[in-house]
């Protein structure tokens, strides 16, 4: 019986293991040095905030693995012997027939910052969370460097313990290299409302420490000194390629793979955050460190290993996040600045906590991307519209079909259509005024 060994028990590795089990009878072993059982990395923040316990963020009960004959090893892989097809763990040697590398990422640090300083850290692994508990005990002030998704989660975590947070953001606005200016402004404003100090166009220059090597303050690139007891580094993550560095497995930033998620060495695959695609599909990045991509790669590699070689072909891009109270969804392609043949329709509510953007091609009017803040949209419908190249008019007329907000939520569609009709009076969209009990109730409550 073939032995499939998977290094890494994150979403990518675990999805691969589960699907290989569904498709085959192979022997499966999953190794991780982080935790014995799979847990949801995206939920680490909730454990810190006491909203859940560690046991709640494990998506499967502990008996699941044995029942499905997936062997878990809580151990570190020190090296790979490609010729002999084995792995050196701390105390044993493990033979494999096929190897899947799903080693994830590590958080980035700054070259000018000494990693030994106490109170300075990023957030990625479970162990970082434990360290964070230590580092933030009884402190009052923190600085977070880098305005991205993990940064905002870290900010929310610290704020929940009444720690004063100052964000240092290199760009003009929060997540300014991804979000168009309007959305970025909404989020930045929301962060300020939550009590966060936001310093734009600012980087970290230096950290000052006490005699016992603890942070006491920092200096920004604008020569401003800020007293703080903690510095959070959330300037991005990089593929974890430690294991392949001194081997014949090719890597650049990440482990290089082809469409089939194969590395250059036979019988060795790579999936998830640690991967760099040699030939990314058009419109996709070579390195895509997101949950959904890891999951899809896991499913794809399982098929290839179980006898039906399958190319990694992600469908319409999508992602989601949450900035304190504001939920965010993106479908398709929305860039921060429009390219020449693109047009945009953008609506936001007066309270400045909801917005919707639809980008479309100037000539054909067919939509290419949808952005929503504070509004829940139905993924299947949005993707269908983008795939079928529906026109902006069609999409707006049918927008209700994509509305995934809870019952009795405040309606937003008509306000949006009114704005569109004002901007494009030449072919207005018919605004339907629906009468139903549900609408009546939501009116009373708004």
């Amino acid at each position: 019986m073939k032995h499939i060994v998977i290094v890494g028990n994150g979403i990518a590795g675990i999805t691969a293991a589960r699907h290989i089990r569904k498709l085959s009878d192979y022997k499966i072993t999953v190794i991780s040095s982080e935790s014995k059982y799979f847990f949801s990395r995206t939920a680490l923040m909730y454990v810190y905030m006491g909203q859940m316990k560690y046991e709640h963020i494990k998506p499967y009960e502990d008996w699941f693995w044995e029942k499905n004959r997936i062997e878990l090893k809580y151990d570190k892989v020190e090296s790979i012997n490609i010729q002999r097809k084995n792995l050196q763990l701390t105390k044993e040697l493990l033979q494999y027939d096929k190897l899947i590398l799903a080693t994830g990422s590590n958080y980035n640090t700054l070259p000018n910052i000494n990693p030994e300083i106490k109170g300075v850290q990023g957030l990625y692994h479970l162990q970082d969370l434990e360290k964070l508990e230590e580092n933030t005990k009884n402190i009052n002030k923190a600085v977070i460097v880098g305005g991205g998704l993990i940064g905002v989660e870290l900010a929310e975590m610290l704020i929940s313990r009444n720690i004063e947070v100052t964000f240092l953001i290199r760009e003009n606005t929060f997540w300014g290299n991804v979000l168009p200016i309007e959305e970025a402004n909404i989020v930045t404003q929301h962060l300020k409302k939550m009590g966060i100090g936001v310093l734009i166009n600012t980087e970290l220059k230096e950290i000052y420490t006490s005699i016992n090597q603890r942070v006491v303050s920092i200096l920004t690139s604008k020569e401003e000194k800020i007293a703080c007891e903690f510095v959070g580094l959330t300037i991005g993550v990089s593929p974890n390629i430690d294991l392949v560095k001194n081997t014949s497995i090719e890597s650049q930033k990440g482990i290089l793979v082809n469409e089939y998620l194969e590395t250059n060495e036979p019988d060795i695959y790579a999936i998830g955050d640690c991967v760099e695609h040699k030939n990314p599909l058009s419109g996709r990045k070579a390195i895509e460190q997101i949950w959904y991509s890891g999951k899809l790669m896991g499913e794809t590699v399982a098929k290839s290993i179980c006898g039906s070689p399958t190319k990694y072909k992600p469908d319409i891009f999508y992602n989601s996040a949450k900035f304190f109270e504001i939920e965010y969804q993106v479908y398709g392609k929305i860039t921060q600045n429009l390219s020449a043949n693109e047009q945009t329709f953008y609506w936001k509510n007066t309270e400045n906590n909801k917005c919707l953007r639809i980008n479309y091609e100037a000539e054909s009017n067919s939509i290419i991307g949808i952005h929503a803040l504070g509004i829940r949209l139905r993924q299947a419908i949005c993707e269908k519209w983008i795939r079928d190249k529906c026109t902006i008019q069609y999409v707006l007329e049918h927008l209700e079909e994509a509305n995934f907000n809870p019952e009795f939520s405040k309606p937003f569609i008509n306000a949006m259509l009114e704005k569109y009709n004002q901007e494009y009076p030449e072919n207005p969209i018919l605004i339907k005024k629906k009468k139903s009990i549900t609408n009546l109730i939501s009116k009373i409550f708004n």
Binding site: A43, M49, Y318, R376, E407, I441
Partner: protein, 357 residues
């Protein structure tokens, strides 16, 4: 809305305060049900209100109904404030507050004042397990037209109301919008929802226990009606129907629904009775599972397996297990409280009544 540090709070993480609250509730129920004279001083405190509403001094049941209503109203206001950004939560909380105050409390007390038979018009057999008891039927027959209406209304709810409403809206129309036990669970019980057991094992026990009790309640009622019509006190000449009735009332009606149902909030979450015991929930659940437009829709691939939905499901449904597979949730036990949708950080879940499929 946030649930920060709920697992560090001694009241809501099965800590000492939770144990204390649970013990006090259990003691309270025991005294109320079996030793009311020992808390007569407490009961008498509600005399003025009782005199005003029904023209008599308070008895233990008036007292209980009164504090039950106050608890739902008070904690209902807390609920509305906690979930103030979510209209679904506000609407259904107002609904349970209304049904408790008017249907469970005021109307029956006013009926008593008018010397009419007692009836809570929103209570449905077999949760209302005494509905077919001889003395209840006799009182209603004696009351004439209005009594007959009461009987017909009760039968109508059970035979037509439940299946039709559940077909269109799911069992939530009752369990988290109307029901009194549900009303208490959704308001007073809300801080304890995360304590329900989500394991597969708990689900197995739940199915045995709730359908077992449904069967028990039907057999008990069958026996009672048999005796009522034939005047024969023994079923098949061996089992005394009065005895089954007594056992049901004691074990299920008092101990399970009351003492355990509420006293265990801080231990096993706020829906222990509704999940493991209530025969009406079992009936509603069967309709919901096999013949209903209601489901929790899952937004394709958006789930990040964080576990908030499962953790805060009061019925102990492992919502995440479905969500991470992109599979809609159609479960007999779901009471449609909508909290999974509220706590999901990625907008994955939505309660929907799908028109046709």
């Amino acid at each position: 809305m946030n649930n920060n540090y709920i697992f560090q709070n001694p009241a809501t993480n099965r800590g000492w305060l939770g144990m204390l609250i649970g013990s006090l509730l259990i003691i309270f129920y025991i005294l109320l049900y079996w030793f009311p004279t020992s808390i007569q001083w407490l009961i008498s405190l509600t005399d003025p209100i009782s005199l005003f509403i029904k023209g008599k001094v308070a008895d233990q049941w008036f007292f209980y109904g009164f504090i039950y209503t106050i608890a739902i109203l008070g904690m209902g206001i807390r609920m509305i404030s906690k979930y103030r950004h979510n209209n679904y939560q506000k609407v259904r909380t107002i609904s349970v507050m209304f049904f408790q105050t008017c249907f469970a409390f005021l109307i029956p007390e006013l009926l008593a004042r008018l010397n009419l038979p007692y009836q809570d018009f929103k209570n449905i057999f077999p949760l209302d397990y005494a509905f077919f008891f001889d003395y209840n039927i006799e009182k209603k027959i004696a009351a004439g037209t209005i009594g007959y209406f009461m009987l017909a209304w009760g039968v109508f709810l059970f035979v037509v109301g439940v299946p039709v409403m559940t077909y269109f809206f799911g069992k939530r129309w009752y369990c988290s919008w109307v029901c009194g036990c549900g009303g208490l669970a959704e308001t007073v019980g809300d801080p304890f929802r995360q304590l329900s057991d989500k394991s597969l094992k708990a689900w197995k026990i739940e199915r045995y226990s709730i359908y077992g009790i449904l069967a028990f309640s039907l057999i008990m009622t069958g026996g009672v009606l048999y005796t009522f019509f034939t005047k024969e006190s023994k079923l098949f000449g061996i089992i005394d129907t009065n005895f089954i009735r007594y056992i049901y009332g004691f074990l299920i009606g008092s101990i399970f629904a009351g003492v355990v149902g509420t006293g265990f909030y801080p231990l096993m979450g706020n829906r222990v009775w509704c999940r493991f015991g209530c025969p009406l929930a079992a009936y509603l659940g069967i309709v919901q599972r096999y013949k209903s437009r209601y489901r929790i829709s899952v937004n394709a691939g958006q789930c990040i397996s964080c576990g908030n939905c499962s953790t805060f499901c009061e019925m102990g449904i492992d919502v995440r297990a479905y969500a991470q597979k992109g599979q809609d949730i159609v479960r007999a036990s779901c009471v449609g409280c909508g909290i999974c949708s509220e706590v999901c950080p990625r907008g994955v879940l939505n309660l929907e009544n799908i028109s046709s499929k």
